[in-house]
């Protein structure tokens, strides 16, 4: 059982909005067996009913309660109080990479904008007896599909955390993993490599692995997704041997971003709007 049973907690929660704010201290008795989110809820139910915090499942499966606990990006529901140095104040602050809406809640819409630009899964025609895939072929993709979209990897990635202008041309670890999943999908037929290099900004990643370190699902984002993508891009653009091989065997040319457009949500929507206007 946890060592926490008596004593007082000193919680420093960041309160405020995009225009400003500060850490506010809350003192409350320690209780046995709590996670950080429980303590935040206790503060909410007693002292601060309007304390903004995002959460859903409280079991590490939905990825809503991302925050920074003592400066470390974590899920609040999966961080037990007994693992923290509770004889000192515990600070909880919102994710830094995204604009604060209020208190611990941030505006993560950037991620949803990137998601719209991912060229969709595009399988080949379905054989009469149905698709066949083998367990060894789906296992790599299954690792990335464990992702709960908590966006802690996006948050910790210094490419956008410390250099915000890169948000305009960099997809971030979550979506590079998504793209890797598509590129490794046994039924998919698109070649997104040029698009990944150009529009998804793969080259901005300098593989410093913080995304892997913070992933609550333990996905090896850097080793199993981003580096394999980098190598695939090398195949296509930086490796004359591979280039020559393609020439000889007459493989089709890689896709350009323009080729990919019809497969993204934004393009589908624009096409529908065009149709509606025409009719």
């Amino acid at each position: 059982m946890s060592a926490v049973s008596t004593g007082e907690l000193l919680m420093k929660l960041w309160r405020g909005d995009a225009s400003g704010g500060d850490f506010v201290e809350y003192r409350l008795p320690a209780q046995e067996g709590e996670v950080v989110l429980d303590v935040v809820h206790r503060i909410q139910a007693t002292e601060a009913p309007d304390l903004a915090v995002r959460w859903n499942c409280k079991a590490g499966k939905c990825g809503s309660c991302s925050a920074e606990i003592n400066g470390q990006p974590r899920l609040m529901c999966m961080t037990r109080m007994s693992t923290l140095p509770i004889d000192e104040p515990i600070t909880i602050s919102p994710m830094r990479t995204f604009p604060v809406i209020r208190d611990l809640v941030t505006d993560v819409s950037y991620n949803y904008e990137v998601a719209k630009l991912i060229p969709s899964f595009t399988p080949g025609p379905r054989p009469a007896e149905g698709y066949r895939m083998f367990q060894v072929d789906v296992e790599r993709g299954q690792e990335f599909r464990k992702c709960i979209e908590c966006f802690l990897c996006q948050n910790v990635c210094h490419v956008i955390r410390d250099h915000e202008e890169n948000k305009a041309h960099y997809a971030g670890p979550r979506f590079l993993a998504r793209l890797a999943e598509l590129e490794m999908h046994p039924l998919d037929t698109l070649d997104r490599r040029a698009y990944i290099a150009e529009r998804m900004g793969l080259g901005y990643c300098n593989i410093t692995k913080c995304c892997t370190e913070v992933c609550p699902e333990g996905i090896h984002i850097t080793d199993n997704a981003i580096i394999p993508l980098k190598e695939r891009v090398v195949d296509q653009r930086y490796d004359p041997v591979a280039w020559l091989g393609r020439k000889i065997r007459g493989r089709p040319r890689p896709m350009t971003p323009a080729d990919v457009e019809p497969y993204t949500g934004a393009a589908a929507k624009a096409a529908r709007a065009g149709q509606a206007e025409a009719s």
Binding site: D17, A18, G20, G21, E68, G71, Q72, P85, S93, P94, R96, S109, F134, V136, D137, V156, H158, V159, R161, D162, H163, E165, K167, A168, Y170, A171, E183, M184, H185, P186, A194, A197, E198, R199, G201, G203, Y204, N206, I207, T208, K209, C210, E213, V214, D223, P228, E231, R232, V233, V234, D235, Q236, R237, D239, W243, R246, K247, R253, P254, P257
Partner: protein, 284 residues
Amino acid sequence: MSVVEGTARPAPIPVEIGRARGGPPRSKVLRRDLWWLQPLAIALGLAAFVGYGVWTAFRGDYYFAGAHAHYLSPFYSPCFVRSCPTDVVWGPAGSIGSVSPALLVLIFPMGFRVTCYYYRKTYYRSFWASPPACAVADAGSTKPGGARSRYSGETRFPLILQNIHRYFWYVAVLFAGILTWDAIDAFRFGPNGWGLGLGTIFFVVNAGLIWAYTLGCHACRHLCGGGLKRFSQAPVRFAIWRKVVSPLNAHHQLFAWLSLFWIAWTDFYVYLVSSGAIHDPRLF
């Protein structure tokens, strides 16, 4: 030509940039653990190796313990300049001038390590401070007055050259072969004798660690099978990928350090033996 026209900037991701983000001051490090310890230790480790490497490479002497046994320092292998001992000289001896042989050879393993995905992480963190540690701001990115350092990652010259890592890997396989040869050669004592000295064991371990590091390379992992779309259609490549390369790759960091440390140790041992500072105990 099959390469995408890459000059025009693609349409940006529609996101508002530069608006107030709120939250605690960006320059403030909220982490309370010893986050600076790891990058510091790595910086010291790398600096120590580089310092040692420079000393040993420019030394140009005491790299072959031929009088006792065929111990050729891995820093000097393959040896193909005029001054190389005849026992171990490679290629058309004497065709290249009299610089330290190490200086010519080291370019390749150094290139392999400098472009290695793992070492890139270490020096980006420890020397560039980009980032120094997770959730700690990049150096220069929080300067007052909104000034921020530009960051272009590996998209521009010179860092775009990191993409040639796999060519260094091809050469690194050659080097691993050469160091394996050296390890076999380290069983030779005198003109025709065979034996086993303490140094021989060091050479064997050295070759083993070099292979472990080289075969665990991310480029190797891609080339041997990782680049496939369907493993089920290439069972042999899949077996290599899953049973050999991926397990080694999972410990790439460990082998990167062990092989780095061991290569320096092997060199130093050869130096000690050939300079007469110690005697290599012969076990058989």
